[in-house]
Symmetry: C2
Subunit: 440 residues, 2 copies
């Protein structure tokens, strides 16, 4: 009979070394690169968060520099010396090396180089290996921090962490872009969004957020679409107008940017990431947006219902140069192309109280105020020739009293991509799912 | 052109009132229950987190007590008075009421009663409404806090927040219990666990955690199985043994219990929840467990490979009465029934370095050390007559050097159920998915 107690405190190896200059340390890591300097070798050890330059001068316990290979998992001991030329400003002169695990093959990609210089297909094919590269690690550590900062802010504003089912009986967003599955002989689908569920739970808790999978069977093969992505969603009740939702997003983004600046300094430096400072975010109506594009850029839009990708870019250029913001809200989209649960503007029912947020040329959020009145929702379903009886369970939300509410969804990979200046959204997904990619 | 700034600070209505005894307050909520006392009425207003007793004495702006109905969404103003008999110790004497939204039908369930007194099927059928009941809200606010406490602890221990794909090309856990879907003409599945992905990412970051959906097409209809549930998973590299994983779980559970005690006081009180205090957790081998059941309870086990539900209960009874713990680890399960990625005990390869954690009679965790050596993994696949070529992409993990590592998965709904003494796991899922239930 054993008794299991608490774990040893976690120590980051880079911090450990930095705190013990002139002293002896022991840590574990993986050999990232070996540079043979004839008299000695530089052994660069990859640890959880960074690279540590080690110096191997002599044979140690039967291990010589020629025994050390990339990919070896090691425990090393040595003395830390200041070394301004090394990453982190120190190096470790090794006094002991023991091998914990060894590779069985040569690296399929040049993991030890500063830039791997491989194309995206190769990168994705060898993803379990390529993700070990410091630049890839940095992308996803920042992505993880985006989730954490989002959650932390939401909680500080009274939001409850929810998890909605992804196997559903109907799509919330309509259309054919939905994955079907067999559910014990019943027809089921993968959730296109947590929409119904977050509305339900805004009726329960007032404020809810979710970080979860979103599934879209879109037959797109572009640099900005994934078929499975992570949505950062929130929904809030008792609002005065959709402006409350936009303010919440502004506050959240400001917090999240500060959060990653505080928590991901080495990663942001490695990627030379330019993280925006957010104070306020300008907001413009869809109609005014089209007019400005005409006036400023001579652009005659052919899309009466939405913004085309080139228009998203144009508006962001405008916002940056004339309004000093890398973000811009576009509001009051034509109702016809917004979802059936969107509330229409009472002063002009052809417009929905719905918005997009654009960031560096790309839409990263769709949100808005939802219909909370039962009759209004039934009327809108009827006006769209939708079968009300199929929405019986959704209408339980409205039937027994539901506060005015609204919310939004943010694509985590899109936010990551725009933040870090990545060219393809697949670079911002650990294991992207697109029309041809299911493995790894 | 508007400029969107930060949101107003969030104020919890109960806290607002409590901080303004003798003063005037305004807040929003939903009418939970009206009690007509002939001269006046008690209007109980349900807010984000609790119930507030309001006193309506006179007609206010044309609204009389007979106009107020359950489910009305209101903004109320009034003066806060101490009132020891009311929930929270105060009541609000109303000076203004305005109706923000109204119900269209009578409540289908007695939402205003202390206990709804309805059966589980009705509860689940009207889930968007029944979840508004204070007892249901309490369950899920605690569940949300379990996620938050888990994440907070993991981050404090250097774990990175990951999100793995749920659409996969192969099941990690094997067997037929897997949902199939059509992925653009390719066969795909819903992930049975994030197993491969968390191992990949332990090879990247060293330590990772995920809170995400798990999909099991098990043809079970029991009080302890769901077909979709939330997994709290973590995986850690550079371990000495599986004991490191068990220690991490011990520390995490201790933290999470303290976290919900600190963050969910009113909910724990409402549910009279008995939250365990964790110091250390006893650990026993599978073999010894069977022996103890024989010695202490005269129980002759017929299951040589696993623990039956009655045995899980028996071991928990034993742990509680003889070891003073509501948790008990069982280790060293027979390898034959543990997954192909589990590492076998070098000193007895018929046993896997694998464990379960039992809590109040139920297994809530499976975890263990994984194989990190390439040849060892290939050999184990071969020994099980599994087709190694199907695991080419999984073996990218091992082929290029992988530290010793291990991890575990916890079922969030099971943990919630055991913690709160719920009788059926469906009570611990917002919108449970079982063989017959896909709606709402």
């Amino acid at each position: 009979m054993e008794s299991i107690s608490l774990p040893k405190p976690y120590v980051d190896a880079v911090e450990l070394c930095a705190a013990h200059i002139g002293e002896s340390v022991t840590f574990r890591g993986t050999v990232h690169r070996v540079r043979d300097m004839s008299d000695f070798a530089f052994v660069i050890v990859r640890v959880d968060r960074g690279l540590i330059q080690c110096l191997l001068k002599n044979e140690l316990d039967g291990i010589t520099k020629s025994d050390i290979r990339d990919g070896m998992v090691v425990e090393v001991s040595g003395t830390v010396h200041e070394e301004p030329r090394a990453e982190n400003g120190f190096e470790v002169e090794l006094s002991a090396v023991s091998v914990l695990a060894k590779p069985y093959d040569k690296m399929p990609v040049p993991l030890g180089k500063k830039y791997m210089g491989i194309n995206l297909d190769t990168n994705l094919e060898y993803r379990p290996v390529t993700l070990r590269h410091p630049r890839m690690k940095a992308i996803f550590r920042i992505q993880g921090a985006l989730c954490d900062g989002f959650a932390e802010y939401m909680m500080s504003q009274g939001f409850v962490h929810m998890n909605s089912p992804k196997i559903v009986a109907a799509g919330a967003e309509g259309g054919a872009n939905i994955f079907k599955l067999d559910y014990f002989g019943q027809k089921a689908y993968l959730a296109q969004s947590p929409q119904f569920y977050k509305q339900y739970l805004a009726g329960v808790f007032g404020r809810v957020f979710e970080i979860g999978g979103v599934y879209r069977a879109e037959r797109h093969s572009t640099s900005r679409h994934l078929n499975e992505y992570i949505g950062l969603d929130f929904e809030m009740a008792y609002i005065d107008s959709m402006k409350d939702v936009m303010e919440m997003e502004t506050g959240m983004l400001k917090y999240v940017m500060d959060y990653i600046r505080a928590h991901c300094k080495p990663e942001l430096e490695l990627l030379k990431a330019d993280i925006p400072t957010i104070d306020t975010i300008p907001s413009i109506t869809f109609k005014d947006a089209k007019q400005i594009m005409l006036d400023k850029f001579g652009h005659k839009s052919k899309n009466r219902f939405d913004l085309n990708p080139d228009e998203e870019q144009m508006l962001c250029d405008y916002a940056k140069s004339e309004l000093g913001s890398e973000f811009i809200f576009v509001t009051h989209f034509p109702s016809a192309k917004r979802p059936f649960y969107a509330k229409d503007d009472p002063s002009d029912p052809s417009l929905a109280l719905s918005f997009d947020l654009l960031f560096r040329g790309l839409e990263i959020t769709t949100g808005g105020q939802r219909i909370n009145d039962y009759q209004e929702q039934v009327d809108k379903l009827n006006a769209r020739d939708m079968d009300v009886s199929l929405f019986e369970s959704f209408l339980l939300l409205h039937k027994y009293g539901m506060p005015p509410h609204g919310g939004l969804g943010i694509g985590l990979e899109r936010l990551t991509m725009q933040l870090l200046g990545l060219k393809n959204i697949r670079e911002a997904a650990y294991f992207p799912r697109d029309m041809s990619r299911l493995i790894p």
